[in-house]
């Protein structure tokens, strides 16, 4: 029990379960899944489907954050990727041909790889601060997307492309499979090889890692390339969902949601140790929140405030300080209730309580200063 509570994914999972519980309580049909024409329907299925772009972007973001970096350009990269794919399909006389769609997707992802490579070059070779380096593309990227689409919102009609975000296989949405494959690839590449631990080493102590012979430049560069590629695929899913390349709306604010998902999953913005499982949970938490807003019928004008409030509550649920405060509150309430034997005993328990919590805060402080 104790080891369960101290597991670093315990509180992220609690937050997600609490969110699902609230949804189910207000709308009992939340958890129900029905089968229609061989396709599964239900709020949960929607969440699995709609979370795919954020999932991809957040996975890439996790790797970048682990290297002490940040990638603000993912939303813009999504816009570029969608613009490239749809422009190719639009230009083709046979937009329903799978080979045309395949070509469009491959080119769009390659372009995103180039954008990621550019970010990685700025950060790892030129040594520009990640937030500034990726800000360049964040601002320029949507302009590039507009240039590609000639300033229009390109719309196409292509069944294979539509399938990316809207198709189903074995009852589940295709986009969900894309998420699963992306998670699996990241887990395999990071944890089955030594890349994960080397990434963490670089994130925790870049100088020491360099002197130990770790290719820190390559690892940092690689993280941005991965992030770019992931954003590229996310851009395809997004544009497939609306069958249009909207340079201004595609992936808007997704960098912020992705960062939030990574942090909710327990990965520190200081870099170093990262948790892929944590990020997955973080993404589902955020997507569930977004769905909740729709389910509860929150008016559009109030939804950002609702979202912000919910995020604050989720963050508080995970905060160690809040845990401590709650624990000592419970203890003092308990000692108040059980003080029938006299003040003496309760005073002793209270003191013991404050003693141990002080101990914890001390360890927290040493952690902070050692950073």
């Amino acid at each position: 029990m104790k080891s369960l509570v101290t597991h670093r994914l315990f509180w992220p999972v609690v937050a997600l379960i609490a969110l699902i519980a609230i949804n189910t309580a207000t709308r009992p049909s939340f958890l129900s899944v029905t089968m229609r024409d061989g396709q599964l329907y239900g709020s949960i299925i929607d969440i699995l489907r709609n979370s795919a772009p954020l999932m991809l972007v957040a996975l890439g973001m996790t790797l970048v954050i682990a290297t002490r970096g940040i990638d603000l350009s993912v939303g813009a990269t999504m816009a570029v990727s969608g613009a490239v794919a749809l422009t190719i399909i639009d230009a083709s006389p046979t937009p329903h041909e799978p080979s045309v769609v395949a070509l469009a997707i491959v080119v769009a992802v390659l372009v995103s790889l180039v954008l990621g490579t550019w970010n990685g070059f700025l950060v790892s070779v030129l040594g520009i601060q990640p937030i500034i380096a990726t800000l360049v593309l964040m601002l320029a990227g949507r302009g590039i997307a507009l240039l590609i689409t000639d300033g229009f919102i390109t719309t196409v009609n292509s069944d294979p492309y539509k399938f990316m975000a809207q198709g189903y296989i074995l009852g589940f949405p295709f986009a969900f499979y894309v998420s699963i494959v992306a998670i699996a690839v990241v887990v395999l590449v990071e944890r089955r090889t030594a890349l994960g631990v080397l990434t963490e080493a670089v994130g925790i102590n870049p100088k020491a890692s360099h002197l130990a012979g770790v290719r820190s430049r390559g690892i940092v560069w690689g993280a941005y390339i991965a992030s770019g590629a992931m954003a590229g695929i996310a851009g395809i899913l997004y544009s497939s969902n609306i069958m249009a390349a909207d340079a201004n709306a595609a992936g808007l604010y997704i960098e912020l949601y992705a960062i939030l998902a990574v942090v909710l999953g327990g990965t520190s913005l200081m870099g170093g140790k990262f948790s892929i499982a944590g990020t997955v949970i973080g993404v589902f938490t955020i997507q569930t929140l977004i769905s909740t807003i729709t389910f509860l019928g929150v008016p559009p004008a109030a939804s950002p405030v609702f979202m912000a409030t919910a995020v604050i509550i989720v963050v508080l649920i995970q905060s160690r300080r809040v845990h401590r405060a709650v624990r000592s509150l419970i203890r003092s309430l308990r000692s108040l209730g059980g003080s029938a034997e006299g003040d003496d005993a309760s005073a002793r328990t209270a003191q013991a309580g404050s003693g141990s919590s002080g101990d914890e805060s001390a360890r927290d402080e040493t952690k902070v200063t050692s950073r």
């Binding site: 290719r215 003693g355 101990d359 050692s370």
Partner: protein, 516 residues
């Protein structure tokens, strides 16, 4: 044991009395019923090996750790510290080894932080700088309070930290390893300040691994071992050998045993393992030659800033030389990055353990295999079984404590972190290992362990370059000593033909009249 040796020199009432202090960490009894007394106007050294409980005792006194049992009395008043702020309010200030000030603020801002004089428009900068200047001059420091802190040497920064403590009106000043990155002149300056504070009635708690300094500055010494109090003594009544024995609990003839091992002939007709010719970099190091032969330990002696570290960093490729070239086993080698050097089986352990050595948030095991893993590349991960074999082997061979491969390295003491680093490099099976200050800031026992290992490995054919500020160590381990001064190699000595005083003279000669 304690009462028997209780010195009765000063009749002053103690400013700090700690009684029966016990602190338990998960699995460890860090302090076991320890008493500690600090009197006003004395410099009191706290001695013990790493892990003896010095830091824990200090942290109990500064409110960082809560005590499990025992009592703390400050100036006759019983205190319970719930945090560092409480300890500071009681007049207890600490200056840590790594200066914890704000490097990018000005000197004045640092000194007055939290006590800035105010006027209607906010901070009164004029008064603040005047006040700061006054406090600094109190310590004999004449520096511009508007200058940025990081533009000053570590020594000056430390003095700034002390003046900051004085602004807080400290009656107790704790100096934790203040001298570990200072050169001789700076230590003198610091000691002058400490003596001055002592004469003004401040109680100074001094922690240092330098025995010389402990004997020079302190009046009294308290010895801890394995979390237990061994005793309190007057420094003048306690010979060094006895102090060391009390600290480590065994006779330390081992260090002398090491020295005999260095007395062996090195075949210098063969091709050297490493030959650096005219290696240098403008403004950093004048071109220098270094040869290291099979199984030889080459020491580098010189003061801090003499170019010792710069020389080995250029050889290793951590910094780029702009002149000269390097041969490894007679073959020209281009060492432009640590990876190249490691590929040629050269290992380099930096003097800066925290920033360039350990990866604090990774485990002991991950830190040890980091070097091998980096060489293999990320695709071929070291299998768990293989990792366990390597790690267990080195933990045992170097006596890393606690012997727990899954412990985070950041939680280990300095000496044990150093052993983990040594293990990381030895695991890569180097031909040549470069050790820059491997024994700095660590306890006598760990020092002996590390030196013994280096001597043992060099006998088996490993070559080494050994840098240390402690010249005895250099002479004990090395067959040949390269002497550096003012970023220049000034000579090479055979360690059999020179003694400690000779070496000091050699380093000092020509130091523009100020030779000590």
């Amino acid at each position: 044991m304690v009462t028997e040796q209780q010195p009765a020199e000063t009749e002053d009432r103690p400013i700090v009395e700690m009684h029966g202090i016990t602190i338990r960490f998960p699995g460890v009894l860090a302090l076991d019923d320890v008493d500690f007394v600090l009197r006003p106007g004395e410099v009191h050294s706290l001695m013990g090996e790493n892990g003896a409980g010095k830091s824990t005792l200090i942290k109990a006194l500064t409110g960082v750790y809560a005590i499990d049992s025992g009592s703390i009395t400050v100036a006759g008043e019983s205190r319970v510290f719930a945090g560092t702020a409480d300890a500071q309010a009681a007049g207890i200030s600490t200056v840590y080894q790594e200066v914890n000030l704000c490097a990018n603020l000005s000197v004045g801002e640092n000194v007055m932080l939290g006590h800035e004089p105010r006027n209607r428009r906010g901070i009164d900068w004029k008064v603040m700088h005047r006040e700061a200047t006054r406090h600094l001059e109190h310590l004999g420091l004449r520096i511009d309070p508007r200058s940025i802190l990081s533009s000053h040497s570590i020594a000056i920064q430390q003095m700034v930290a002390i003046s900051r403590a004085m602004v807080l009106d400290a009656r107790v000043l704790i100096l934790d390893e203040p001298t570990s990155s200072l050169d001789r002149g700076e230590v003198e300056q610091l000691f002058a300040v400490i003596r001055d504070l002592r004469d003004r009635g401040v109680a100074v708690l001094f922690v240092s691994h330098f025995l010389d300094q402990v004997y020079e500055i302190s009046d009294r010494v308290t010895v801890l071992r394995n979390g237990k109090l061994i005793g309190e003594y007057l420094v003048k009544d306690l010979p060094r050998g006895e102090l060391i024995t009390k600290m480590i609990g065994r006779e330390l003839d081992e260090l002398d045993a090491i020295s005999t091992k260095a007395d062996r002939a090195i075949d210098r007709t063969a091709t050297p393992v490493l030959r650096a010719k005219g290696i240098g970099r403008r403004g950093v190091l004048e071109p220098a030659n270094v040869d290291v032969y099979d199984g030889e330990v080459v020491g580098i002696a010189g003061l801090l800033g003499s170019g010792r570290t710069e020389l080995v960093r250029l050889i290793f490729g951590a910094d780029r030389p702009d002149s000269g070239h390097v041969e490894v086993n007679g073959q020209p080698a281009k060492l432009t990055s640590p990876r190249h050097a490691i590929g040629k089986r050269i290992a380099f352990s930096s003097e800066n353990r925290h920033e360039e050595g350990v990866v604090a948030d990774l485990t002991v095991a991950e830190n040890i295999v980091l070097g091998i893993q980096a060489r293999r590349g990320w695709r071929r991960r070291i299998r768990r079984s293989e990792q366990q074999l390597v790690v267990d082997n080195y933990i045992k061979a170097l006596d890393v404590r606690p012997a727990d491969p899954d412990q985070l390295v950041g939680n280990l003491s300095g000496g044990n972190q150093q052993k983990v680093l040594l293990a990381r490099w030895l695991a890569t099976a180097p031909r040549l290992i470069v050790l820059d200050e491997p024994t700095r800031g660590i306890d006598v026992g760990a020092k002996a362990d590390i030196q013994r290992k280096v001597a043992e490995l060099s006998e088996q054919g490993l070559s080494a370059i050994f840098i240390s500020s402690e010249l005895e160590e250099v002479l004990r381990l090395a067959q040949r000593v390269i002497v550096m001064r003012d970023r220049r190699k000034i000579g090479e000595l055979d360690s059999r033909e020179v003694d400690l005083d000779g070496l000091i003279d050699y380093i000092a000669v020509g130091r523009e009249g100020s030779a000590a």
